[in-house]
């Protein structure tokens, strides 16, 4: 199932907007964009997930990858994740590595 990804950045924030489904068949594309965002070296990375209807553990791996790729000083925000997606993030304890923010 498809995942669409857009990337933009402002003075201090990288914004990655996702729409669709994040599973093992689509997470690879997200890794590429995370690398791009990491290379920009900005202080905040915002991953907008309001339009993500489904996320499997491959998506968690992407968040871990983002955390490892960005320096400790970089804030990673996951914005607008629906309840089911947020539950998966919490079940893995990742809500202590990234900030879960309601829209």
């Amino acid at each position: 199932m498809p995942l669409s990804i857009s990337y933009s950045s402002s003075a201090d924030t990288s914004v990655i907007e996702l729409a669709g489904e994040l599973d093992a068949s689509t997470a690879g594309e997200l890794h590429e964009v995370i690398e791009k965002a990491s290379a920009r070296g900005l202080g905040t990375v915002e991953i907008r997930m309001a339009k993500v209807g489904y996320m499997a553990s491959a998506g968690l791996r992407s968040l871990v990858f983002a955390r490892q790729k960005m320096g400790e000083g970089v804030e990673i925000r996951v914005v607008g994740a629906n309840e089911a997606v947020a539950r998966v993030i919490r079940a893995a304890g990742l809500d202590r590595s990234v900030q879960l923010i309601d829209e």
């Binding site: 093992a24 499997a56 553990s57 491959a58 871990v64 955390r67 089911a84 304890g93 990742l94 590595s97």
Partner: protein
């Protein structure tokens, strides 16, 4: 490359190549069956997630890129929606790899390999595993 056969009114079988590209077709079957069973949104998500994780695991860690097949059978019973995943990858009982996340460690410092299995096994209401005639048979069920 996939074939879905209706077996009676409330059961179906899907045979797909063991590749990540098959995950979508498997999810379609699971969601269809969840709909037939009248599962709520949360239960539907849990069942899909569990099946998706175990199928992904069979593709990546079971077949490891070798050609193979995954058969998915679904059934709605009086009180359950049941999905059975069958593969011919090397013998593997998911419960043997069940590692709970270690709360003391920051997430990015933990091994993440067992997470999919953790999610799968904690998402369903019933799980069983059998190794029969050289096949891994995982049965997952969510209450209606």
């Amino acid at each position: 490359m996939s074939e879905q056969v209706a077996v009676g009114e409330r059961a179906s079988v899907l045979r797909v190549p063991a590749s990540l590209g098959s995950l979508g077709a498997i999810s379609v079957l699971v969601l269809d069956l969840a709909g037939q069973g009248g599962l709520g949104e949360a239960a539907r998500y849990r069942l899909r997630l569990a099946v998706d994780e175990l199928a992904t695991n069979a593709v990546i860690h079971g077949y490891r890129g070798r050609p193979g097949e995954i058969a998915v059978t679904g059934e709605v019973t009086a009180d359950l929606v049941v999905i059975r995943l069958v593969d011919r990858a090397p013998r593997f009982d998911p419960r043997s790899r069940w590692r709970r996340p270690e709360p003391g460690l920051p997430a990015h410092a933990r091994p993440i390999g067992g997470l999919g299995i953790h999610l799968a096994l904690t998402s369903v209401d019933e799980f069983s595993y059998a190794y029969l005639d050289g096949r891994n048979v995982c049965t997952l069920a969510v209450r209606r």
